[in-house]
Amino acid sequence: MTLLRIRNLSVDFATASGAFRAVDGVDQDVDTGEILAIVGESGSGKSVSMLAVMGLLPWTATITADEVTFDGHDLLNIDSRARRRIVGNDLAMIFQEPMSSLNPCFTVGWQIKEALRFHLGLNRRDRHARAVELFEQVGIPDPEKRLSAFPHQLSGGMNQRVMIAMAIACKPKLLIADEPTTALDVTIQAQILDLLASLREETGMGLVLITHDMGVVAETAERVSVQYAGQKVEEQPVGDLFDVPHHPYTAALLDALPERATERMLPTIPGVVPGQFDRPQGCLFSPRCKFADDRCRSTPPPALGAELGHARCFYPLNTDERIAS
């Protein structure tokens, strides 16, 4: 069942030097209980599209879309009061920097109980019991004592566990994790990912994992959406994406993984993601693509069918293997 359905979502930011399109015509579906990974370089619009769903973008952003529905609610034409009943309740999000994402002036217990009070209306004793239960669930030792700690008294990993406990406090149907492990040590990263995956198992919630780490994707995700410069360029089940990438950008990203390297020198993708002023006319990846020709540079390619991973490319890769298999 489709939990979150996004059609043709675009987000424009008003800047001093004109409008900047951060998300460009993205389609996305998330089913109940599935783990979708959205990958892409910094600035590819992966966070912004999810912040738009949450209604967390600053007022300088303009959101346009054909459809954004979550669990039967139209999030596009919803008033802010009704949105607040969904956000933090059925639809939750955790962020990249756990240290700065928690309010330094309040105890972590206060911050987790706040959501329980507003969304579930629990009384003081039930809130406390639920908070302890949540802390145990996310693997925080000695929860009774930790509830009265301030964020600066906990480590980054512990704070991220607090963030996760806060996000799952109201048993959300969908959890959006925006680079949840980027700011953490590698050992802690694995713990947090395991935690998210096991929570998904326990609660049956959908999970959107925003990341730029292909290793995280391979370990955790079921389906992968690759974004580039605000566009979704490819989407496939995780195994297929790693085996038969269709978009040259996906292929280049995979080639750049050290564990898949075949040569001594690690291949890189030359150039950078286009910015506000050097946005190409045709395919957005064409300036960095080794297969690009004049057609790529002049005409934007449409998205292909599901059998080719919805790739936005005139010359998709690995088409023979797909046909052969």
Binding site: R85, F95, E97, S100, N103, C105, E114, A115, H152
Partner: protein, 335 residues
Amino acid sequence: MLNYVLSRLLTFIPTFIGVTLISFSFIRALPGDPIVVMAGERGLTDERYAELSAQFGFDRPIYVQFWEYLTGVLQGDLGTSFVTKRPVWDEFFALFPATLELSVCAMIFAVVLGLPAGVIAAVNRGKLFDRALMSTALVGYSMPIFWWALLLIIVFSGNLGWTPVSGRISLMYYFPDATGFMLIDSLASGQKGAFASAVQHLLLPTIVLGTIPLAVIARQTRSAMLEVLGEDYIRTARAKGMSPGRINGVHALRNAMIPVITVIGLSVGTLLAGAILTETIFSWPGIGKWMVDSIFRRDYPVVQGGLLLIAVMVMVVNLTVDMLYGVINPKIRKR
């Protein structure tokens, strides 16, 4: 925490000696002679002058005079007024409640209006309210106190006749000043209309004295809020589905209070300095007016003692502010 307070109290000592030195030399640097001022227009003979000079100790070297003053102060003796012959200490605390009452009211006025105004301006950044408020605050901050006071007197006391021009209470009421705070005493007296009269008298001085702190607090609250509203934890609060009122008033304001508390603390100094002008204009019988009168009379012990007590109060307020930081934001809590 106790160690921190003690170490801060230790730093009071050099400040304290500095203030005594400055106040001691400041009043003596002014032209004019207290004995001549006391004698008035009739003048006095050279013998009588020498006699009085010896009595006040002016005939001895200046450093001896300072040393005697300093040792006296450290023993809690601020000296005796030349004019009234009463101990400075007694005079100060007889008048201080009037100043305290006015300052506290002015501070409440400034905080109660300035804090919400700053928050609303920050939340509506760039909109009409924000621009209007910030320009008004700039005007309020730049306005000379005496001019503003006279303007208010002309309009509200003169043209409209709503408020009295001077004093603390109407002459119709008399009651013993048990606490020295007119609002409390007038209520306690039970006389009909006494409290209302006290409030009326307090109104204009409060506004005049509170205007600059109000402008400063509103501007500081706005900028602190703007900074805090861009923080990650505000996004987290929004992601939890909290209402804008709760986010601005609880999550953001608590963090924004640190710089605001700082300017409130600094404003106390400004307030006491401003009280001198305000009290003079409104004939408010507080330490401000007492200090100004004493400066004109070259009443050395009063000026020295008054300045010293004001300085100590400002130091205590600043220490309190420093300790409040830790209460508001546990991250800054001193161990």
